[in-house]
Symmetry: C2
Subunit: 336 residues, 2 copies
Amino acid sequence: MNLEDIARKAGVSRSTVSRVLNNERYVSEDVRERVQQVIDQEGFRPNPAARALVTRRSKIIGTAIRQTNDVFFGDNSYFQMLLQGVAEAVYTHDYAMLLWLSPSSEHRDKFTRRVSRDRNTDGVIITSVTHNDPLLANFLAHKRHFVMVETPPSQYADMVSYVTVDNVAAADEAVTHLIEIGRRRIATITGQMNIQDGIDRYEGYKRALHRAGLPLDPDLVVYGAFLKHEGYNGMKRLLPFAPDAIFAGGDTIAVGALEALAEAGSRVPEDVAVVGFDDLDVARTSGLTTVNHAVQLIGSTAASLLIDLIEGQLEHPQHVVLPTRLVIRRSTVAGA
Amino acid sequence: MNLEDIARKAGVSRSTVSRVLNNERYVSEDVRERVQQVIDQEGFRPNPAARALVTRRSKIIGTAIRQTNDVFFGDNSYFQMLLQGVAEAVYTHDYAMLLWLSPSSEHRDKFTRRVSRDRNTDGVIITSVTHNDPLLANFLAHKRHFVMVETPPSQYADMVSYVTVDNVAAADEAVTHLIEIGRRRIATITGQMNIQDGIDRYEGYKRALHRAGLPLDPDLVVYGAFLKHEGYNGMKRLLPFAPDAIFAGGDTIAVGALEALAEAGSRVPEDVAVVGFDDLDVARTSGLTTVNHAVQLIGSTAASLLIDLIEGQLEHPQHVVLPTRLVIRRSTVAGA
DNA sequence: TCCATATCTGGGAGCGATCCCAGAAAAAAA
DNA sequence: TTTTTTTCTGGGATCGCTCCCAGATATGGA
C-alpha cells in the first residue's frame, strides 16, 4: 500500500495525495476530503524510510545516556524524569525518540562512536558530558544538531546549545540556608569535578561561605561523585572533623551521607543538617532538604529546543537557564 | 557522500562497495581491502533510510511503555532494568531502540494507535498489557512482530510470543515460605486483576494456602494495583483483621504496606512478616523478602527473541519462562 | 472581452541504497 | 587446448516518497 495505490483509489494523482498527507495548500476542499477518506479507510501511513530518504529528516531524535549501570539505575530517578520530559515534547511535535544506553561492558569511546555515527536521528540530546568529551568535539565537527541538558564545559559554552539551571546560584542559596539556620562548620561532598554541574555547585558553596565571612576549610571538603556510596564514604571521612552541616552535590550523595550519619548515631538535623541537590524521588521519601529543578521540564524544554533547531526555527546555539527552588524538609528544619 | 562517491574514490562500482559494506562474498581480497580503506578514511556510513526503503528493515525495535506516570516513575526500577536489558541485546545485534512513553495526558487508545501505526520499527516489545488490550489485537491483525515481557491474557497465550516467569509457582513458593516460618493468618494485597501477572500471583497464593490446608479468608484478600499507595491503603484495610503475614503482589505494594505497618507500630517481622515480588532496588534497601526474577535478563531475552523473529530465525510464537529465586531478607526472618 | 494572476492537478526526476542479471576473468575439468 | 564451472565486477531497475515544473482551470482587473 503506497501513495500510488491511494491515489488510484481516490481518482487523483500521487502528488495530490502527498499534498493532503502533508497538509499543503493548493488542494480543493472536496478533493482533500475524498483523499483523506481513502487514507483513513485504508489506515494508510506513508513509508517513513522513503520520506526520510528524500527529505533528509527522520523525525526521530536520540537521547544518549552513558554510565548506565551507575547512574541510570538505583534510587536515581533523574533519567526517568528526563526521559519522560523528552517523551512529552517528542509527542507534541510528532517525533519519535531513539534511546542510546551504554551497556556496562562498553567502553566510553565505543559508545561515543556508536552514537556519533548514527544516522537515524535528526539530532541528539546528550547527558553526562565530561570535560574533553569526544562526543562534543565530534558533534561540533560534523555540525550535528544536539542539545545538552547540563552546563557544558566552559570552553564549549558559547558553541553548544544547552538547557540547564544556575547551579552556582542554587548551591549558594542552599548553603546560605544552612548558614541562616545557624550552622558554621558546613562541609561539602561534591560531584565529579570533571562535570560542570559538579564544579558549579562547589563554586556556589564557596561563594556562600565567602559572603558570610566563613573560612573555606579543606578538611570539610570531600571530592566525590554523584553516587550513593560516595556520599556514604565521604561522610565517614568527614565525621572526625565534626561538621554541623553537609551540602551534598546531589541527592544520591546526600542519601549516602544520611546513612552514614544514622550509623554513627548523629541526629539529623539537630547534630548535622543535610542539604542535597536535584529533588529526586528519594529526597521526598527521606525528607531531604534539596534544590528542586524540574528535571522533566528540562527534558521537554531540551527536546523542543532541539526540534526547533532541527527545523531551522532557531539559530544554533541557544542557552536556556531554568529556575530552581529550595525545598526545605526535615533534614535541615525539624518538623518541616 | 554516498555509495557512488566511495566507489569512484576506490575505482570500483557501487555494487562492489555495497558488497563490502554488507560483508558479502564474491569480492577479491585486494579490492575489499582497498574499498574498506576508503570507507574508513571517509568515515562513511550508508544512509539508513535508503537501506530501509529497499530492504524493508530498519534494524530498529521499539519498546512501548504505557502508564508512565504511575509506573515508570517512583521507587519502581522495573522499567529501567528492563530497558537496560533491551539495550544490551539491541547493542549486540547492532540494532537501535525506539522508546514509546505515554505522556500522562494521553489516552490509552491514542497511545495504542500511535504505537501500532508506527512504521519505523521492525518489531516491538510491549509491556503492561491489560485484558482485552487493543494493542494485542491490532498487532496480531497486522501480523507485526512483537514480544510481550509478561504472561499474556490466557486467550492470547498460544498466539503471541512472550518472555515471563512462572508467577504461579513463584508466588506459591513465597507464600509457602511464610507458612514455613509459622504464619497462619496470611493476607495478600494483589496487583491488578486485569493483568495476567496479578492474577497468576494471586493464584499461587491460593494454591500455597490450599496445599497447607489453610482456609482462604476473604477478609485477608485486598484487590489492589501495582502501586505504593495501594499497598499502604490495602494494609490499613487489613490491619483490623490482624494478619500475621502479608504476601504483596509486587514490591511497590509491599513497600506501601511496610509504611502502614510502621505507622501502626507493628513490628516486622515479629508481628507481621512481609513478602514482595520483583526484587526491585527498593526491596534491597528496605530489607524486603521477595521473589527475584532477573528483569534485565527478561529484557535482553525478549529483545533477542524479537530480533530472531524479525530475521526469520525463529517461528512465531515463542514462549520463554525464566527461573525465579526467593530472596529472604529481614522482613520475614529477623537478622537475615 | 481579454489578459494577468492565483489556484489546482499531474507526471518526471531524484534521494541512496539493494537486488538481479549479464558479462568478464580466473580456476577447474575435460 | 577447449569447455565448463566458479569467482568477481558493473550497471539497470526498484523501493516509496517529495520536489519541481508545466499545464489546466478559476478568478479578478482593465
